[in-house]
Symmetry: none
Subunit: 204 residues, 4 copies
DNA sequence: TATGAATGAGGGTTCATTCAT
DNA sequence: GATGAATGAACCCTCATTCAT
């Protein structure tokens, strides 16, 4: 009936791809790109090495696909929840909560994500599309901040700069929690982070 | 009791080491650890590959030494300026300024530093002493915050958590500037960052 | 005694075989044995890779079959036209014309043929039946030459040696024409080659 | 004294290169390019695989170097003896003798040479400089023939075509002898070949 | 019979490390 | 100490062959 029906082949193929990507995320998260071998990934996915190459043309492509799929997913979830929220305070809270919850549920991806972010200054990454994907994350915040400034909700600040800083605050909390450095419950961390973003360090 | 007088050999040896480390920082910053070769480093240092191994037992050790020396340096400079400052606001401002100025002057090191920080969750880094070195950075902040809370300078917050967040805000600005993403002058960035740390996003 | 009647299966099977061999000749001629993949051949034959293995047990066997079928064909055509000719001069002319025309019409096969001939000294080819097939080609010439010597048509020479040389002269012209190195029309080349075989270089 | 004195390094380096090339010729002659492995060559040269890559950037380059050095050598020897000979008959005899003796003394190289010649029609070889090197061989003959025609020593023929044919006659004899197909002594083969080139098949 | 996804052995190449000079 | 040639382990990727459907 529906014209774009997936064939059984497509379903199997997609399944294999996602299996490989899941295995890849685990391996890359543990070993990093360079230390990970394609054999590791294949083994972890329970398939033979050659099979991996039926679905991805190179190790680098596996890595990028793993990164991109997670990045797109996170990006979309963030966008959706921010859009659903009303007012800058709620929007910022949505940004914070969505991402910290996502990190909790996708630890392997977040490790790769942050690792790659740390390497953003390498020659290899500089001309890649990934800088753009990263910038996009901050841009969402910036747009929300711009609207809030226009609406008089918050004071006038350099919104691009502020957006990055909020982005980094959230990233830092993700890392703390990933490494088990945070002593608090996730809800406490979220609330405190919201608080700091909103009120700053100083006493009210 | 003979004081630890440096022999001429020691001086030459130290000089070679620092030359190699400087070259290594440049190479690692450009290529990343895995893509960098010992030949690259030797070439950049103007010596032969074998000579490198007279001063460092392995490539990994060069990397760690480059990281450690920079980290210790940054740590010490931060500590000193914070100690010289009076009051939490001044201390935080010292933390911010010292680090952002350091990043501006030591771009190669900061690239390695941030790259490694991104990989902190890798198996390789997990059991290393480097987690401790990173934690130490935040600990300085935490201590200052604790003092300030005790003195009633700022409201009572989870100081460990807050310290990390401030640390990450500063790290984020370093990255922005390193990548040329920041549109402002360094002084403006420093001031705005101080402002945001102190007052938060919302209008005062 | 039932004659060897071909079943429908046999016909289909033979057809598939010849299709695969035709595709194989094209691919092997273009890429050479090692660079050609079974996938290339299957694709060129318009069938799936697995299907190839229903008709040939291995890549090497496809190659040998392609070589052998062409070789047998060429051999038979050469034999027939030489037999039909009367007198050594006419027989040699038949040999020359048949082969050069065949090369013109079966470029793919000739490429493989000459390539394999060049590899005749390789360990792989040495113990094969192909040396015999090659020798057979020259043997036809040798027999004709022997008859001519016996009949007093030509002077007494080492006919085995001479046969090889004539064989090589023809092969050389095939190659020239295949590579587009010959500046003349085919008929001119044939005539001149006959001339040189018969009269040698020196002026009559 | 002489400014372009070879350092010891250079001598050792050249020696290694020639050792590797000698080993490569043996291996390539036995197995052919594709079946030969770099390990085979290294083993045959008595060095480690990695060492090969200190002297040649790739397997292909080893092959081409082996081919080129032999080809240049053969070319130069042929040129020199032809130049020293007076009259077309002597020049042709020089061409024949030089090459057949060379083949006898450099069997490994000749195997590669003829194998490569057989592959000349492959896509890979078509745009290479090697076609030119091959053409050069025939060109020497062609020039000599042109001079002879001008001097009235021989009848007027298409000298380019004739040159190729003589070239192929010699090549054929080389192959015969390499394969042990020739029943005669080398001197006999040389004389008979000269004879056939000069007088043709027919009785004088 | 036909398919094409899956396999895994094999090879070219790199590069950290060693060691004779 | 300084050198850089030599080593060989390790890894990415290819592709002939198999086999479940």
């Amino acid at each position: 009936m529906t014209p774009t029906r997936k064939t059984k082949q497509d379903v199997v193929s997609e399944f294999r791809c996602s299996e490989i990507l899941a295995a890849a995320r685990k391996v890359f998260a543990t070993r990093g790109f360079s230390e990970a071998t394609v054999d590791d990934i294949a083994l972890s996915a329970g398939i033979a090495k050659g099979t991996v190459y039926l679905y991805f043309p190179s190790k680098k492509d596996i890595y990028l696909a793993a990164l991109k799929s997670g990045l797109t997913d996170l990006q979309e979830k963030t966008r959706a929840t921010m859009q659903a929220a009303t007012g800058i305070r709620a929007k910022l809270a949505s940004f914070v909560r969505t991402r910290i919850e996502y990190a909790e549920a996708n630890r392997d991806f977040i490790k790769i994500y942050h690792s790659e972010f740390g390497n953003l200054t390498n020659a290899a990454a500089c001309d890649s599309e990934f800088q753009q994907l990263y910038l996009l994350q901050a841009k969402m915040l910036e747009n929300a901040l711009n609207d809030a400034v226009d609406a008089g909700e918050i004071r006038r600040v350099r919104t691009d700069f502020t957006a990055f800083i909020i982005y980094d605050m959230v990233r830092g909390v993700m890392t703390q929690r990933l490494l088990g450095w945070s002593t608090g419950a996730m809800e406490d961390d979220i609330q405190l982070l919201n608080d700091l973003i909103w009120k700053g360090i100083v006493a009210a």
